[in-house]
Point group: D2
Chain length 313, copies 4
């Protein structure tokens, strides 16, 4: 219900993974219920069915890339909108039941993606250890806690939850790796503009002809709307149909974004609005180009009205 | 005064030239007063001063090209708007006092542009005749009527007015040459859209940098507004400033044209609206691209309103 | 070594997964060695080190989306090129040790992505069964073969290798889901053009300013080069730098592609060529626009040469 | 003959007009023959027929605008190329047989365009004088010299040639008005690049559809070629065909211009090269955008060659 903050949260589980850690950065979630889901579709279906108010699911992460299942679920079925993004630094720790020296570690449980992200660190610091696949970071921590392996790669939250001793922190090879999550709700009025917002769209084009995507980008560029992310995915429904997932700088309440959205609506096979929400992080976006502020649009509208009335321009 | 049809007309003189002939194709002008002006500035100033309701002046002709003085006068000074265009076939006749055989003609009076347009015909049919410059087509006819020369090249109207016998018709080398005139008034509500209209603009850009004109055309193209004429002229005012005269398919009352005009207003140094008026001639324009009809804009606006309200899209 | 077909292949393991199945569609791989790697980086490093001639790794799949680790590994480090793509239908089967009726199945092992792709089928046909996560499709099959679970979701190849009885075929919810793999080698002359090829690029732009991506696409569109896939990824190296992964229709040996690549090289911060190779599948691409065939470029080059020499154009 | 400087010049007459004045700014013309022609077609035909080496004709002037007859003659018939432009300030003087006070002048002979350009000056300084049309500036001067009128508006050269006393200098209303002339020859190697050159083109497009001109400009912009002038003219030949006259910054010998020309050749119905020649005047053009210098093209070509050979990029 618009205006009523969400209290029942669902997140991509299991507990102790990055999704829970991300959810807990949201104040309202600290005071609400937090239920793990086994999959992204399960989490989103809980929101669609009204069993939860909001779901926290991954959109993309630095190693695995886009999370296709989230994009597809947002593009299909009952409409949902993103109301918030959470960007979480990917911080891996090496945890063990006790404070053993690194040189004595022979086996390490790790989710394959976590393993991939810490490859160089592992080679340098525990070259002799065998890394064994686990189903999730939380499962890896649990296996180490159960004594199945000497240590585990996991999230800081997961290490604490499994009562592991942290042998090493920040072991990911890329210090600035992040995972980006979306808080997703049923449609409702978007959060108020903050001056630094993102708008996410799913745009369908009918053919992969030369220039179809160019036309989409031109609709944005001509209104000064910047693009911060783009992903194409073939749609299963029909041969030769593509869907593009776009993150644009700006808010649906701004005139330039509104005109751009209308342009896409007019020229594309379909457009699905997936939400306007504050940009996470502290990096300032590029300023909008001259002539694209709301005041510029208002001036132009007033001028047009004068012309149409036959008055002095 | 809006709604009151003009009754006092001024045209680029002298009498008997193509401008008068063009003016007389307008029914209201048949019943009003028709006063020749000595120059385009004089004609337009009469309208600006309220001494005339409308002025008929040339915009471009097939041989001389754009009529720079008309463009400059429309772009500068008190605003004026075009309410009608008249496209007149350039039909030259060879006239003489009496019905002499072509072979006996030794001297022909002609305005230099008329001479240029009939060059091939003259070489083929009166190769021995000397062509002597005259100040206008009407002056050439008058000189032939006065017996100063054996014949004159002039407009059909001019031949009749000077009581010349037409020795040969349609002597212009290009059968489809035309002159395009504009009927110009003080600002007022434009004529109602007919479904096949033109809109004329003067667009100023600040620099001749790569892409400045491209940006102008993109503002039009992205709304499906077609361009039928473009002329660039350097402006005297300031170094490096350019003005482009554009004729676009469509009417200022149409949504796509309105949005395009607002776009130009926002991104260009200046835009002057020079009128929306019915296209002359019978050739149908290219249809507007899909998604650019008023109904498409209305659908897109309704969709945006739903999105902004948080309702189902 | 150019000209010598690869004989030592590595693939993303373990054995029995789709990657091995994809590799075995390549004739040369049937006669060469096929070694599983534990991760995409491990597979590619084997090629870089000369321990293998080619690696088969996933690029994207219908459910998981882009395989970020593959893209990142191709964009970074020692250059590698794609020489072939393999598009494999995602065909899941439900296998069990013996031919039990579906109604008796209580537990099913499945990789989470496989689970997600078969959700609707599972709900309809084995609603009472509990689905338990496995680390890979092959691991799920092995667990069912070992009697740990009543059944497993796996690839057809994996079912056969684990000697499972197939209880149901084609159980994926989307019949046309596919996974796309790349065969990757050290740089060498690309395979000869076939008339239906793809070229893969990693393009870096310096800023996320409005129009930067538009400029990239314009370089392609103006030469008639079509885009079939685009993915953006932030680069870790430097703030505000983006890399776009592009799949373009055409071959580096074609003039239009060559000119487009040079254009990108000139205007982008960096471009990495990731290979030209035959397009998989039977769907014909959109034909190149008029004026972009090699013959058109040859004609234009000859014309330019004549102009420069001052001869007749 | 290439390499041999022209010695036989023809110019748009009569003698004593701006065209002759413009021609005499060219050193070679000072030592060659200078023959007046009665019209632009006559001047150009003299070059085509080999009766002259070069013709000086007007391209555009500040008041009259484009000189359509020159453009049409260059676009049609036997090819000709511009080898030099001359930009002449429009300097009008008021001349009389003797040094009479302005207050005593009752009649002034003037070419209508000259009259239009000096309107404000005349109104302010000789308000009581009647201005009478003359066929050219030279004819006006001659009439004043013959005593037919009290004074004449003419070019400084024309005043001197008619032995008139200059009563007032610089009487044009716009101090920076200019006329632009072209020196036109039969095709031959263009003058060497100077670093600040113009290239003139006539570009034909088949339809006036939305985006046709946009496509032309994109071919230029994507190679960093700037546009300093554009004029559209309908072609008589075929309905719906347009020809655009373009002046572009750069020389046909430059790589970026060459690639742009080839692009136009490929995508337009027709392109006629009308010459590369040094820009007149002292105003520096906007620098070419990054990545479009000859060295950038050479770097990109070398990179492409390495890629195609399969070597390290």
């Amino acid at each position: 219900m618009p205006g009523v903050p969400p209290t029942r949260f669902v997140f991509l589980g299991p507990e102790g993974t990055f999704a829970e850690q991300a959810l807990r950065t949201i104040p309202a979630a600290e005071h609400g219920t937090r239920t793990p889901a086994r999959s992204v579709p399960e989490a989103l279906d809980a929101v669609r069915a009204g069993d939860a108010d909001a779901a926290l699911v991954p959109l993309e992460n630095s190693i695995g890339g886009q999370v296709g299942v989230t994009l597809d679920e947002l593009a299909d079925g009952e409409p949902l909108v993103i109301t918030r993004e959470v960007v979480l630094p990917v911080q891996f720790v090496l945890g063990a039941r006790t404070a053993v020296p690194l040189g004595e570690i022979r086996s390490i449980a790790a989710h394959p993606q976590a393993h991939a992200q810490c490859r160089h660190w592992l080679r340098a610091h525990v070259p002799a250890a065998t890394v064994v696949d686990a189903l999730s970071n939380a499962a890896a921590a649990a296996a180490a806690a159960a004594g199945e392996y000497d240590a585990a790669i996991c999230a800081p939250l997961g290490a604490g939850r499994a009562r592991l001793t942290v042998l090493a922190k920040d072991i990911a090879d890329h210090a600035d790796a992040v995972t980006r999550f979306a808080l997703v709700s049923r449609p409702g009025p978007p959060p108020a503009p903050t001056g630094d917002d993102l708008t996410t769209l799913a745009v369908y084009i009918a053919h992969d002809r030369v220039g179809a995507l160019l036309a989409v980008l031109t609709e944005l560029a001509v209104r000064g709307v910047n693009l911060t992310r783009i992903e194409s995915r073939p749609t299963g429904e029909r041969l030769g149909r593509y869907v593009f997932f776009l993150d644009c700088s700006g808010h649906v309440a701004e005139v330039r974004m509104g005109e751009a959205l209308q342009g896409l609506r007019r020229v594309c096979a379909d457009v699905r609005f997936l939400g306007s929400y504050p940009r996470a992080g502290t990096e300032r976006p590029a300023p909008a180009p001259p002539g694209t502020a709301d005041a510029d649009f208002a001036d132009a509208a007033a001028w047009l009205a004068r012309i149409r009335a036959g008055g002095p321009a």
